[in-house]
């Protein structure tokens, strides 16, 4: 449900970073915020618990520039990953245009990734959206841990687990180091814009 204002030639779109608890959704946004401060008109908004976990969401408006004469503003959101905050996740997904699913590469998180992806599918369906039709990217985060002796899943294993049916673009990344964070963002923006093309 992008918001296209033809009077002011402005497009507002909502991109949501989804995934299990502690997978690195907020870290993705924090990296983007550091890298593109000059394009971001306001402070990043984070609603956190005292333990620094996302309680409601993080919010980062991001000016992409002009496409076909329209100013494009992407509104980036994260959801709280912890299972108990499901009602909040559903609220944040209202009006979503595109999703980055951040999967945790840690072997111990294998099941959490699956639960969260299924939860995404259900919550999109609650808003009458189909996970097979919405612009979606899977980001395999924490790849930097591979070299540190911490057990991580192979990309093939994660593809099998999460992307066998979806067949959406997937990107290995490290949000903490910044590897492929911007690549992920650019890709999801271009997919979002492609899905709007008809509307403009």
């Amino acid at each position: 449900m992008a918001f296209i204002n033809m009077k002011n030639k402005e497009v507002q779109a909502k991109i949501v970073y989804y995934g299990p608890g502690r997978c690195g959704k907020t870290t993705n946004l924090e990296y983007i915020y550091q890298q593109f401060r000059e394009r971001i008109p306001s402070e990043m908004v984070s609603i956190k618990t005292h333990g620094d976990r996302t309680l409601f969401f993080d919010f980062l408006p991001f000016d992409v520039g002009k496409i076909k004469g329209y100013s494009i503003r992407m509104q980036l959101y994260t959801v709280p990953g912890q299972i108990k905050y499901d009602a909040t996740r559903r609220l944040v997904l209202k009006g979503v245009d595109a999703v980055v699913f951040v999967a945790d590469s840690l072997t111990v998180q294998r099941e959490q990734n699956l639960i969260s992806l299924k939860n995404l599918q259900d919550n999109l369906a609650a808003h009458k959206k189909d996970i097979y039709h919405i612009p979606l990217i899977i980001q395999y985060n924490k790849r930097d841990l591979e070299n540190q002796g911490i057990p991580v899943m192979s990309i093939e294993m994660m593809e099998n687990d999460l992307n066998e049916k979806l067949k959406v673009p997937s990107i290995p990344a490290s949000a903490l180091k910044g590897n492929n964070v911007v690549v992920t963002l650019k890709k999801i923006i271009s997919m979002t814009m492609a899905s709007f093309q008809k509307g403009l």
């Binding site: 449900m1 918001f3 033809m6 009077k7 507002q12 008109p41 908004v45 409601f56 509104q75």
Partner: protein, 142 residues
Amino acid sequence: MSPHDKSISLMEYALGQDQLDKIEKILLSELVASGVHCVLLIDFAGNIIAKGDNANSRIDVYSLAALSAANFGAVEAMAKIVGQEEFALLFHKGETESLYFSKVNEELLIITVFGKKISLGLLRMKVADVVDKIRRIWKTGS
């Protein structure tokens, strides 16, 4: 409505330029002229549909809209938990600036930022009047 009209369009609703102009005019003449610092008409996804402010307002309206949509959604969910359809009065009082939220319909919400110049009672009456007018404009488009 043709897609080439100067309008706002979404999958779920559409407002023409004429309707938008009318709404912005009402926000300015009925609320900003009465001393409201800033007023936003937003949808429940957090998008700003229309806004009006006095020239002195330096508010981060995009963050305010995102947070208000989420806050309103959360409060509505709380109302349901205690068996209410909704809470009639949503008001946050600050020392110099206060916020008042009012639901227009299933899609839209008005957020008013105001100071000490205008009382809550008068503001509520004015906002109720504006909500009524926006609903009528909305109907002409749907």
